[in-house]
């Protein structure tokens, strides 16, 4: 049967992997390539690479997806499926990101700016490759969707819900942005209200934000609608954290912990491969 997934989240700002706290504070971790290689070897089920500064507030031009980073990761030989998020403005951007190495695309700002184009991504990519990323909070008795570029939140609008119900999106990442970066132990962390009040039943969910505690992670993964959970900072705090999480999650329908002593590609950070030609 299909397994639930532990998703390693890599947040990238100005080209560097960072720890992120509540969508507000960021501490540098290092090169995203290094973080990705570690997650790959440690056996995480999927990697979500979110480049958080590719869509601007309107004051400057959008930078578009970070295709150069995707290309570097792809040539590095990651053997773990990769979701890319950040700067997707059009169908062409999404296709380019897939051709550069992503298996799937997550969109956030595009859902707000141009939901019809977000739905149209399923045409060339297939809906299985398209994910909605939604920073949410439960506030004043309703789900509030954060516009992180303009620092305000609104209820989920009808056109967004229509896209989510249309079959053009295969999964939604529910991001508890207020608890993002928190450990989540002792009853804290990811807010169950996001799941309790989620208005699109049948759409598989990836929970993210405040899931650094294995017990909290287990509780969320036990929810039937939750097919995966994302963990960011907590996977970078210690060596082999993925296996430790997986061991703590035994009994859930998940892939067993695995570990590779060396990169799957057999070499580190290959950057000089030609786009076409012989690869030795």
């Amino acid at each position: 049967m299909i397994k639930k997934r532990l998703v390693g989240v890599i947040t990238v700002k100005q080209g560097w992997a960072v720890q992120s706290f509540g969508f507000q504070r960021h501490l540098p971790l290092g090169r995203p390539e290094v973080v990705a290689e570690n997650l790959d070897r440690w056996g995480v089920d999927e990697i979500l690479l979110q480049c958080i500064d590719r869509s601007r507030s309107g004051a400057g031009p959008d930078e578009g997806p970070d295709l150069a980073l995707l290309d570097r990761l792809s040539r590095q030989g990651l053997s773990t499926p990769l979701i890319y998020q950040g700067g997707i403005r059009s169908v062409d951007d999404a296709v380019a990101a897939v051709q550069a190495g992503a298996e799937r695309i997550a969109v956030d700002s595009l859902l707000r700016d141009d939901p019809a184009t977000a739905a149209a991504l399923a045409g060339p990519l297939g809906a299985q490759a398209v994910i909605a990323a939604l920073p949410l909070a439960w506030q004043d008795g309703e789900l509030q969707w954060l516009d992180h570029r303009h620092k305000h939140a609104t209820p989920l609008p009808a056109d967004l819900l229509a896209v989510l119900r249309s079959g053009a999106i295969s999964e939604a990442v529910l991001i508890d942005w207020r608890h993002e970066g928190q450990h989540g132990g002792q009853g804290g962390g990811f807010d169950d209200a996001l799941l309790d009040h989620w208005p699109v039943p049948g759409l598989p969910l990836i929970a993210f934000g405040g899931l650094g505690d294995p017990l909290r992670l287990r509780q969320v993964l036990q929810r039937p609608a939750v097919v995966a959970a994302g963990v960011g900072n907590a996977l970078s705090w210690r060596e082999h954290a993925v296996q430790q999480f997986k061991t703590a999650l035994r009994g859930l329908p998940m892939r067993q912990p695995v570990y590779a002593a060396a990169p799957y590609s057999g070499s580190r950070f290959v950057t000089a491969l030609p786009a076409r030609g012989v690869h030795r």
């Binding site: 049967m1 990651l78 773990t80 799937r104 060339p124 799957y264 590609s265 057999g266």
Partner: protein, 208 residues
């Protein structure tokens, strides 16, 4: 004397990410080239047909690059061919994705929407049917899937299946094998150690 290294040629028809597949092959110690030139493809030890996206667009790209007849000729000549994900589906007679589109017709069968779910996304275990020597060592292994349509092939060609929910679910064909042609619905290049082992067995089994 050093044994000759196996050379895999990726069919570059513009659909999907070739670099990840290429790195999977080079990571196993094989040489790998990507090309759409028939001469370069025909001299490789095996052809790899990758692909992501929609079936009609991929077939249109193969036609545009004059690769449809070429792949049929290479299959009949006995050159090993591995289709991955959409590349497996392209081996079929036809697909109903966005209307009926003819495929390469290299493995009998057709591609239709998954019967019991919209999508098959994530890691799933594979049940290898019979004693196919290429796939048998991977029986029970978890591999990464990402698709909405599935290949329905006659019994003799279906060599592995998966089930989406539980043992009572109708099986989904996830690997086909006909003579020198193998199709893999999952992504071995994105399935970590289990995918590497399977890919090695398939390559070396086809070249025996």
């Amino acid at each position: 004397m050093t044994p000759r290294r196996i050379t895999a040629a990726l069919v570059d028809y513009g659909a999907g990410n070739l670099a990840s597949v290429a790195r999977a092959f080079t990571g196993l110690g094989y040489r790998c080239r990507s090309s759409r030139d028939p001469g370069a493809l025909a001299t490789a030890d095996l052809l790899v047909l990758p692909g992501v996206g929609a079936f009609p667009a991929a077939m249109a790209a193969l036609h545009a690059h004059h690769l449809v007849d070429f792949l049929g000729e290479r299959a009949r000549a006995g050159q090993p061919i591995i289709g991955i994900c959409l590349g497996m589906q392209l081996l079929a007679d036809n697909s109903s994705e966005h209307g009926l589109t003819a495929g390469l017709g290299l493995v009998p069968g057709h591609v239709r929407p998954l019967p019991q779910a919209r999508w098959h996304i994530g890691w799933n275990s594979v049940d290898v049917l019979g004693d196919d020597p290429l796939l048998r060592p991977s029986d029970g292994e978890s591999l990464y899937f990402n698709h909405a349509y599935a290949f329905s092939a006659p019994g003799p060609y279906t060599v592995a299946v998966s089930r989406l929910d539980d043992a009572l679910d109708a099986p989904v064909t996830v690997a086909v094998h006909r003579h020198n042609i193998v199709g893999l619905q999952f992504h071995p290049e994105k399935s970590q150690g289990a995918g590497q082992a399977l890919l090695r067995n398939v390559v070396e089994g086809l070249l025996q």
